[in-house]
Amino acid sequence: MNHSMINASVSMNALMRKLDILSNNMANMNTDGFKKQEASFEDLLTIVKQQHPKQQLPGRISPAGTGITIGSGARLSQVQLNMSQGTLRSTDQPFDLAIEGDALFEIGLRTLDPEGNESFRQAWTRNGAFQASVIPGNESLMLTTSDGHPVYGVNDEPVLVPRGSEISVDSQGNIWSASTEDPAAPHELVGQLKLVRAIRPQLLQTHGDNLFVLPPQFAAQTGQLMEQLDLNQFAIGEAPVGVRQGFLEGSNVDLATEMAELIQVQRAFQLNARALTSSDTMMDLTNKLRG
């Protein structure tokens, strides 16, 4: 019955959800490798209310017989990831890696099924705060994220680094190890980091822990949707993507933009709340017709 009330409440709901997204962005302003989310609105289905035949008079501007259209508020649509570059910050830690350009590290998301078997699912991240983890029964150390998920190399295997060595990573993602005991020994290539580029970044879902995954229905197309980059083919300085050792990528959240959006959302919320009050007053007036 009361469209005003429906409009206002539907839109307040959408604005609330936008506020949630904004606050999540602002909360992650200092999260390394965080990519902000953006959302926009869309108006909802419109009802065409036909006029009584005797009221279909000539002289209207819109075509005859089309009645009056009544909208039903706005909804939140298209929550998208903004994959733009964050600022690089120097940390001087050998296992801190940052990507310059449009690419993602590939990692194996460790999951346990009810029987306790380990399985790995492809996931991607921009957070290069890696560490070397001990694996039981193996001499080498495994390069993992801070949550222990293995980081993949170009051969789709976890990257292993020798114990007791100094690690250096070049801009193409090649990992070299140098023995700490014998500084004169030549550097040994132990692997190359797998870097992929999202062809359809909108399909990526956030998975928490700063990871992105593809929804299960696109699992079969992973190869087409996530293009593996071969950085060796580019001459030095010409590659569109580079790895920087000893740096971390900050989040791409810009506080000024978020605050401006926040103010806009707050004002829109106030306006809608006013509309709700106004339609409430109208209902009150109807109730007091016989007063």
Binding site: E42, Q51, R60, I70, S77, Q80, D102, Q264
Partner: protein
């Protein structure tokens, strides 16, 4: 009997509609490409009132004409250009449309009077999408995204069409494509035009609707053409319409005007309610006090 009571009731219903439209405008202050709606009110068709037993006892004729009330006749979108803001997102497109017709000067609401005295409306440009049931639909909401098959879609999944009426399909990433101001696509790396399967350059289907009031608001940010209306035409070479990539057109709702509309409608509703109460009191007197000794 007391005709004014029915007029006041009609007034309340009409103000309610006006209030609904204002609230919907307020609800869409942040909707990209939204066109604000204006409610047009009209009085009921005139009735001719005559005296009972016309002509008898020398009493002559008609009393006069009377409008029985008011109704919200139509809800007109205001096709004014919304503000364009930069988003930096390569899938966001904005349309700047200011089509001029020789010999006519359009006012801010997009209206002009011909030398013959007819009122004509400014033609408007729209993105063309494959709307509900596959028919063409028109939108100014440039918040597109690219789905898993590489098609450019609106938030509701309507596919963006090219000049041949085919969906625009992207091979690589949205960053690899750029748009010229007339909507032609070219590769940003090479500067070569993007070709379709037949080897023809791909161009956005930008539809010009000569009388935009033939469009019906459908919801989901799209408009559809009313049945029997003049079909949309393609963008001409020298018409002042511009496609801007990385920008979006904001809603053209003026929050101040919408709030004022809403308050006016609410108070007019209140006034009509009061009129009904006055009639009620008159009837109270008629029933309970006339004839009391």
């Amino acid at each position: 009997m007391l005709r004014g009571m029915y007029s006041a009731t009609a007034g309340m219903i009409a103000q309610q509609r006006k209030h609904d439209a204002a609230t919907n405008n307020i609800a869409n202050v942040n909707t990209p490409g939204f066109k604000s709606a204006n409610t047009v009110m009209r009085s009921f068709p005139e009735m001719l009132i005559s005296v009972i037993r016309d002509g008898e006892n020398g009493v002559k004729g008609t009393i006069g004409s009377l409008h029985g009330g008011v109704f919200a006749e139509e809800s007109l979108p205001l096709f004014l250009q919304g503000d364009v803001t930069a988003t930096g997102n390569p899938t966001d497109l904005a349309l700047m449309s200011n089509i001029q017709v020789p010999g006519l000067e359009f006012d801010d609401a997009g209206r002009a009077t011909t030398p013959q005295g007819d009122i004509v409306y400014q033609p408007q440009a729209f993105f063309t999408v494959a709307g509900p049931d596959g028919t063409e639909a028109y939108t100014r909401d440039g918040k597109f995204s690219v789905n898993d098959s590489g098609e450019w879609v609106t938030s509701s999944g309507y596919r963006l069409l090219d000049t041949n009426g085919q969906p625009i399909v992207l091979e690589g990433r949205p960053e690899d494509i750029q748009f010229t101001p007339n909507g032609s696509l070219f590769e940003s790396a090479t500067g070569e035009p993007v070709l379709d399967v037949n080897g023809n350059p791909v161009q956005l289907r930008i539809s010009i609707i000569d009388n935009p009031y033939n469009l019906l608001r459908y919801g989901n940010s799209v408009f559809v053409l009313n049945e029997g209306a003049d079909p949309a035409r393609l963008l001409g070479a020298d018409e002042s319409v511009q496609v801007m990539q990385g920008y979006m057109e904001r809603s053209n709702v003026d929050p101040t005007a919408a709030t004022i509309d809403m308050m006016t409608a609410m108070r007019a509703y209140e006034a009509n309610q009061k009129v009904i109460q006055f009639y009620d009191r008159s009837m109270d007197k008629a029933v309970n006090e006339v004839g009391r000794v």
